[in-house]
């Protein structure tokens, strides 16, 4: 059965800390992996990863994919209270379609 597993389920850190969120997957015909940030209702797009070893970076956030070991990590450096959210990982499996399997998410809380 295709699945996406995120860890940890939740995390509490203090401002300035660095966090690493994990997403592992077991799917057939992997196409791409996406990271989203969900603060209230709508997930907002962060990164799309398709190739191993190529880091995507946006400000304090970065992400990388390992297609051999079937996982991705999302790093957030110098965390701020505004980073508090649920971070979702999703995997697109079948070429030519838009359907994704979502992980259960990691709930991050950053304390001032």
């Amino acid at each position: 059965e295709d699945k996406v597993v995120q860890s940890p389920l939740s995390l509490v850190v203090h401002e300035g800390d660095t966090v690493t969120l994990n997403c592992s997957y077991e799917v057939t015909n992997f196409r791409s992996l996406l990271w989203y940030k969900q603060e209230k209702k709508a997930p907002t797009f962060l990164f799309m990863l398709t190739s191993s070893g190529i880091e995507k970076k946006s400000g304090r956030l970065s992400s990388i994919l390992d297609k051999k070991e079937l996982f991705s990590i999302l790093n957030i450096t110098a965390t701020q209270t505004g980073d508090s959210a649920v971070y979702l990982c999703a995997v697109n499996m079948v070429a030519g379609t838009y359907k994704y399997i979502f992980g259960t998410g990691t709930r991050l809380k950053v304390l001032a």
Binding site: Y36, T44, F45, M48, G96, K99, F102, G103, G105
Partner: protein, 115 residues
């Protein structure tokens, strides 16, 4: 990306009633989807809204319970019929943006509470 709006943003409904959620996109898109996110859970795809034909439902979801319309390439509705408290969820529409790797963007969501 696309600008996606949904309404209502939230609603509280009585058991046995129905609610229609609207999703509007600011540009024509081929693919539109409806997801459900139950409390504490991740996103689950309900169906793909097909323009000009019946929606394609995922396992566990049926048209009688979640009828979907897609009259054109910028608009879709999802109806949650004969609601029960178990239908309390966030309902999200999303769009697929054409490209080699199928990017997907979400609307702001509708928070539904069924009493």
């Amino acid at each position: 990306s696309a600008v996606i709006s949904q309404k209502p943003s939230r609603d509280i409904c009585q058991r046995g009633t129905s609610l229609t959620i609207q999703c509007q996109v600011d540009s024509q898109v081929t693919m539109m989807f409806w997801y459900r996110q139950q409390p504490g859970q991740s996103l689950t795809l309900i169906a793909t809204a097909n323009q000009g034909s019946e929606a394609t439902y995922e396992s566990g979801f049926v048209i009688d319970k979640f009828p979907i319309s897609r009259p054109n390439l910028t608009f879709s509705t999802l109806t949650v019929s004969n609601m029960s408290p178990e239908d309390s969820s966030i309902y999200l529409c999303s769009v697929g943006i054409s490209g080699p790797y199928n990017e997907q963007f979400f609307g702001p969501g509708t928070r539904l509470t069924v009493l």
